[in-house]
Symmetry: C2
Subunit: 375 residues, 2 copies
Amino acid sequence: MQTFQPPRRILMGPGPSDVSPRVLAALGRPTIGHLDPVFQTLMEEIKAGLQRLFNAPDHACVPLPAPGTAGMEAAMMNLLEPGDRAVIAVNGVFGGRMVDMAGRAGATVTVVENTWGEPVDPARVEAALAEGPAKVLAFVHAETSTGVRSDAAALCALARKHGALSVVDCVTSLGGIVVDVAAWDADFVYSGTQKCLSAPPGLSPIAISPRAQAAIAARTTPVRNWLLDVNLFMAYWGGEGGRTYHHTAPINALYGLHEALVALFEEGVQAVQVRHAREHEALVAGLEALGLQMLVDPKHRLPQLNTVRVPDGIDEAQVRAHVLKEWDLEIGAGLGPLKGQVWRIGLMGASATPWHVKICLTALGEALAAQGYRR
Amino acid sequence: MQTFQPPRRILMGPGPSDVSPRVLAALGRPTIGHLDPVFQTLMEEIKAGLQRLFNAPDHACVPLPAPGTAGMEAAMMNLLEPGDRAVIAVNGVFGGRMVDMAGRAGATVTVVENTWGEPVDPARVEAALAEGPAKVLAFVHAETSTGVRSDAAALCALARKHGALSVVDCVTSLGGIVVDVAAWDADFVYSGTQKCLSAPPGLSPIAISPRAQAAIAARTTPVRNWLLDVNLFMAYWGGEGGRTYHHTAPINALYGLHEALVALFEEGVQAVQVRHAREHEALVAGLEALGLQMLVDPKHRLPQLNTVRVPDGIDEAQVRAHVLKEWDLEIGAGLGPLKGQVWRIGLMGASATPWHVKICLTALGEALAAQGYRR
């Protein structure tokens, strides 16, 4: 067993994305104690930074000490009690995962199935909400498995109209496209660090509305998950009132998230979104010039996650192996029913640059040509 | 919001401990994808390294992607189903936490209370096991809140004798004192990275026996926790049979753990234990020369976590503030009933050196003198 030296990689899969040198430098700074007064100022800055990035000034915003799926699990475990009804829209892998988790929380789940590669249909969601009272409406804003954006504003409005709390998966959207928790009036929003924030995986930023906090406080049964119990967790991250020991925060990972936020605000939240949109357009133009087709209709496409149809007769795994071997370039495979049907090309955070677009198109063209592909 | 530059700190509290430059360097290496073939070799090396460190060649060993308490929660959530009985020995904060978690898993808990500052009493545990069948016997090997080592071999043997699965908290023991999972024949052992491994907090190495794996496979209800569901988790970390996507591994944190393991094996597992014991003896000799008293009887003391009684008339918080301000030195306060009664001085991993002992004694002596203390 020897020191591990990672190879050079260009990360254009569904996440993690390239982590910038300044964030890597932050990760390697000396560890301090999680109860250190200086560390508490770091925590406060992260909380404020997340409130700003989510645009959630009235929400409690903290990073959970585990990957993005921890945010999903925290939402389901904290909001749902046995016997509660949850309406969950599924249009990809991650909606399906929500259904699994809500069941483990003891809820009765109404699944609203949608076609993979298309957004969640608000009419179908409303029909399910109209069937009877639901505690929660959950959906994925940006489906990483398909590259589709759903209409978070419309779906959150439906939740409000029918008295349900909204749970919104923004793992792949935060920092890449508009996430406006205040405008959506969303209740429990979560994300990850390894997508458009371009920090390493391992943390899950969340935003919880006062309404959702009140619902959690009014539970009659304990949250089934101790580590992700919002009541315990917020007492650890709570500011003025002092902090109650819960777990030991992942200090260095938080250095990384902090620096990623600093970098993002330096560039500007809107400027970052514009950059994602611009590089997406360049990539799509290049892919179409190669004769490739996108899976998703233009009006629902995520700029940061591009699903590209595998042409007939092409071995998709061999293409991925080729670009990895010859170009140190990682792109993603399809998941679930899209396995073998698509590639997933990420343009997330530090990976959303003209250089990345150019190298990806060049590598992909070469890999296709190696299989005799002609447009 | 600006780039965060941590202050200089010497970490001699209950964890995190000082992280060595080589582990910090590992944390800051470029992120690669979690599905990258090269990353899979890293995962395999970490699994093998943990098997070696736990001495658990037949156990499934992986690091969970969350702090040490995730290991505790994984043990309780995976092994216990509603209606199961758990016998849990409590002799400090962390035993109490186990009780909370077992309750959330739906178990009926028999609590075996022990005096804080003393080890778990095997006779009392056996009496509780003899009362009726128990699925689990859980205890803390090294109580971080008191600095006490309990007899893991004897307690695991009682579990076996009475047909219970043993859950052993080795958060503070692993890498500091003997942890011999094979000799104990223990079933679910977990640890953290921020104690004697001297990596940053954020990961929880676990070891699961074939017997415990079979018990989890035989569950009739789903594990309540999705992220920590061993069945899903092991499929992601599984080797030859391929990997099933679960979460996104915290890549850079795993670089850090890997390097911490490399460093530990370079020094030698036994040599590391000897170093902890030696520095502990030096520290205790120095503390006693200052006229201070240890909380714990010598035969149950943890070398890596030293609980020192606060002398009468001394403001303990002021002492901690003094050594932090004047020496950049962090030591820990008492927890629970020991709050205000003791300091907790860690000699963990990279913080277990003669230099640390000397600076700690010097700083402590100065802080006490500043309050007019005379031995």
